[in-house]
């Protein structure tokens, strides 16, 4: 029972994990990205279309990354180069994503593909309780484990990571030190968006190998909230995404067991839980746990430097 629940937790948490990681990269550079929901949809459709046309899952994942990268570059252009309002631009990106995937996804509805299959890691998958949930999964899930580590390593152990963080904390100081604020921010938004796209592709290539209009159902917004819970750190994002995945898995389990509680009430749980987590982590943040990038949400203009 616990093993099944844990397995469902990881599978439900993975799309959110990719999206949260992508959002963290954005926000570490100081750019708020509220387009996550739209980017996930773009990734989901591009991933499905790529795989459906080529027959290769790898092509699908690359297409998802590429399409979300391109869509993210709109947000990057507006917020970094044109110094536009980040909140409005992000909302616009979500609307754009919802609309354009509905338009171009029309022909994809009802098509089927062969999705990601489980690949057991010899030895590790035999571990009691966690073995099946963590080491008998598909390749995208293994990739998410690696990505969590890579992002942590990049942010805290490389010079570029230091540059990215300083651009998000204090762009004027970073500029003085010779880091190009606009290059760092542009790449953080676009590459981060690409990872969000892979999160969307997980839905259409692994969770349910098909395209459904608006299939993300608010997961992008949950990811935006989890960034705060994660305190802008990738290992904590993993914890947050799996906590959310756990709630979803339990909710589905309850429904499958045929409880008398209405399905609509059960479906509220993940959103309600995310709200609760958001409130608690915001209060913790104020007490000094974790740190929000200082320059988050502020456009940078060299002429404004003091």
């Amino acid at each position: 029972m616990l093993e099944i629940l844990l397995d469902a937790t990881v599978r439900a948490g993975t799309p959110i994990l990719f999206a949260t990681l992508g959002a963290i990269i954005n926000e570490r550079a100081g750019i708020i990205n509220l387009g996550i929901e739209g980017l996930m949809l773009i990734g989901a459709l591009a991933g499905f279309a790529g795989t459906s046309l080529s027959g290769s899952l790898l092509v699908g994942v690359l297409a998802a990354f590429g399409a979300a990268f391109l869509a993210g570059s709109i947000h990057a252009l507006i917020t970094v180069q044109l110094r536009g309002n980040q909140i409005v631009s992000g909302l616009a990106l979500t609307m754009f994503g919802v609309g354009i995937t509905a338009l171009f996804g029309k022909g994809m509805v009802g098509l089927t593909i062969v999705g990601f299959k489980r690949v057991a890691i010899p030895g590790l998958s035999q571990l009691p309780i966690i073995g099946n949930a963590f080491f008998n999964q598909d390749l995208l899930i293994y990739f998410s484990f690696i990505l969590v580590f890579l992002i942590w390593y990049f942010l805290y152990r490389t010079r570029w990571g230091l540059g990215l963080r300083s651009v998000g904390e204090n762009p004027a100081a970073a500029d003085t030190c010779g880091f190009s604020v606009s290059t760092y921010r542009f790449l953080a938004v676009t590459i981060g968006s690409g990872f969000v796209g892979i999160g969307g592709a997980y839905l259409s290539l692994a969770s349910t190998p098909m395209w459904i209009e608006n299939m993300t159902a608010g997961r992008g917004w949950i990811a935006v909230a989890l960034v705060i819970f994660a305190g802008w750190s990738s290992p904590r994002a993993m914890l947050g995404a799996y906590l959310f995945g756990g709630i979803t898995a339990m909710q589905l389990r309850f429904q499958a067991m045929g409880t008398t509680v209405s399905a609509h009430i059960l479906q509220m749980l993940p959103y309600f839980f995310t709200l609760l987590v958001l409130v608690i982590s915001t209060i913790r943040l104020k007490k000094g746990a974790g740190q929000q990038p200082e320059g988050l949400g502020l456009p940078y203009d060299r002429e404004d430097r003091k």
Binding site: M95, F96, L103, W221, A225, I228, H264, V279
Partner: protein, 356 residues
Amino acid sequence: MKLVIERREISSPLLRFSAPVASIFVALFVAGFLLLASGVKPLLPYKEIIIESLGSMYGLSETLVKTTPLIFAGLGVSLAFRMQIWNIGAEGQIYMGAMGATWVALFSGIENHWVMLTAMFFAAFLCGGLWAGVAGLLRAKWQVNEVIVTLLMNYIAILGVDYLIYGPWKDPQGFNFPLTAQFSDTARLAEYFDTRMHSGFFLALFCALVLYLFMERTIWGYEIKVIGSNQKAAQYAGMNTAWAIFFVLFLSGAIAGIAGFGEVAGLQHRLQHGISPGYGYTAIIVAWLAKRSAIGVVIVSFLMGVLLVGGDSLQIMWQLPVAFVYAFQGLILFFLLASDFFIIYRLKLIRGNAHA
């Protein structure tokens, strides 16, 4: 030769007015390519949109039907914008308002027409207001990000209404469809000219006027504007900013909630699934395009009404998904944001090797 960006000394009023108009036209142009890519010649749908929404009395009445909730929700969102507060939850607040009004209509047993409508109005006002008030309270007390809170609460509100209409409030004579029983005539707004247009439209115009007077002629409106432009200065001046944040979000949600009242009392005469097809999200664009004015909200709501009615006909004629309208709205916002840049800055070509 070198291209440099420089700040304009003064921004021209002409540019500020023409930028939003230009953004819409550029968005139309780009959306044409999206239409082409999905196999539709772009000029035909545009003609169709205008004919369907403005070309007949019926079309015009349908446009006003859709303009009505947009005005309410747009006013609500733009009120919060005035204080740099982001209410992205108008959609949920519409659902909550519709729920409150429906509760009064079905279960209060009021017999008098005007008492009934007044009670429904205030139920919607209160439900929408309290729903947004949660975000206001969290923001005022602990600085919880109101964008995420209001947005997540949309999903909860829509599921909550679904719970009621699939469960306890379901019409026993409704053949198991997810809707409540029809309202009696006491709980309906007046309709005109044999169309679906209802008195909610005039209520919306009145509401815009009241809000304009509230912002321009009262001390509360003044405080909201001060807090919006400089929160620190407002605090030094002794204004209670925490209370103002709660109050503004409450009022913002309450006005959006009235849209829900208008939809159930004027249009649907019952609560049903999908009572708002995204008016709350369109309201964000309405508020942003209208900048700071209540009159602007009315004008832009009408434009968006045209777009929504046209969008419906595109769905029928070319099987384009309704959500296509969202892609178009996103494009408008992108170009609007881009145009803002050119209001503040200008590109200048510098000849020779002079230092810029």
